[in-house]
Subunit: 145 residues, 4 copies
């Protein structure tokens, strides 16, 4: 989005933050790569994310898209535990492959003072076509003077 | 939607079906009421659904909306394990109250041969204003001749 | 939403405002009814809204949903030309009937300081089942001190 | 999506088809480029697309996204006047620039037998950051045997 912008939190800082605020689910996720306006993450798929037949549950896919959009936003603005999702639209397009992680490639499309908008594509690791896509809006709490 | 239509599965049949196909999460949900084109369900909120501060996680809210739309559809068409969510848009509007269940009131807006569309309002039990709303589309597998 | 709240603009004030800020399209719309958190409007369907076969175009349906959500919001907060749509999800469910107006029933689900969220159902006049549904988010410009 | 797939309709064939089925609005749009799973189109911005202040109206942006998704689908499946939009989610992120065309870059994410899913980014010509993004689902009528 803006070439010269830099991240305020790198993968290590984001992982530590995630572990602090989402302790219950932090073990589910890993951060592969962080760059300005971009993050790549993965869902470390375990039995608790599966539906009969070995497919990944919808809520697990939603959870990955949601955390990726959140961390893509925080990478640029710094730690803000109070940013909240206000809207998500998600399209489930293909059945995820069994036995591999789910990868999220998130791209920040807008970072305003009040709102961020992030596009997320979800892939079964090693597949070229996406299994799902999502767009998420986060409300950023106003800075106190 | 259609006054004369009747449910093909009642609360008991839907509960049994949910237990069979979603065994890992069936204990999270209960069905309060089923009527033609309508279902009321609840998320039996436990620690695993919470975020720090006692609020219910986004994926847990998504999960409740998703299962309510699924069962609202199945109530009318009968057991179809293969119906899949193709799209969800969800608006998170208020922080859920701590210590109470989350209630979903789902209403089937369209039941076509290929797609169903369901509106879901989520409430913290005992509150008048919704905490979230969602619309979900389910693709219904073609009947084999 | 809030029983005691009152409208700041009634149908007459909203019509005058719409005519002022949307002069190019104000003749397309009429306001049937305004109440706290609710508005009923109609698209006065003309040839320019139609597709071959007599069906109403998607952009015309979107336009009606959008103006209904906008006016439902303004009815409660007063004239704010600068409120802007930030998000819309819309489901097209049935073909509108030919030769009748399109009716929007809009309901404000949330009115915060920064955002409003409005649900809109669209009906062909005289039909019981909706042709489309939409949810729209409006960003409300901050009040200057 | 699929490298080896070829378009069934090129820009010329799509333009002729658009002129035939959307005669009332075909002059609003032009096709810049067609490739497998991709199309670039523009809204030839005129006074009828503007709001006071010179900004492009929401319904005009929706219309461009909708036609781009439709033609991206038809390019791959051939002329199917009966394909209909079933769902659209759209995020309006920035005010379009005055006095320039609006460009849509559409990418087909899924082309199934019953549904297509297309991502569309909207740009003011000459700007690097998008003004809006949309995802649209089209229902493809079943082939008659």
């Amino acid at each position: 989005m803006a070439e010269h912008r830099q991240v305020k939190m790198d993968a290590k800082a984001l992982s530590a933050f995630m572990r602090e605020v989402f302790q219950q689910v932090a073990d589910d996720f890993a951060i592969d790569h962080v760059a300005p306006d971009e993050i790549t993450m993965r869902l470390l798929v375990g039995d608790r994310h599966l539906r009969p037949g070995g497919t990944i549950s919808g809520p697990s896919m939603f959870a990955l898209a949601d955390v990726a959009a959140y961390l893509a936003t925080l990478a640029m603005i710094g730690p803000q535990a109070l940013a909240v999702t206000t809207n998500c639209s998600i399209d489930f397009m293909r059945k995820p492959a069994a036995g591999v992680d789910l990868i999220a490639k998130a791209r920040l499309l807008k970072l305003g003072r009040q709102l961020s908008v992030t596009d997320v594509m979800l892939y079964s690791e090693g597949m070229e076509v996406p299994v799902a896509r999502a767009t998420l809006t986060y409300a950023i709490p106003p800075v106190k003077g």
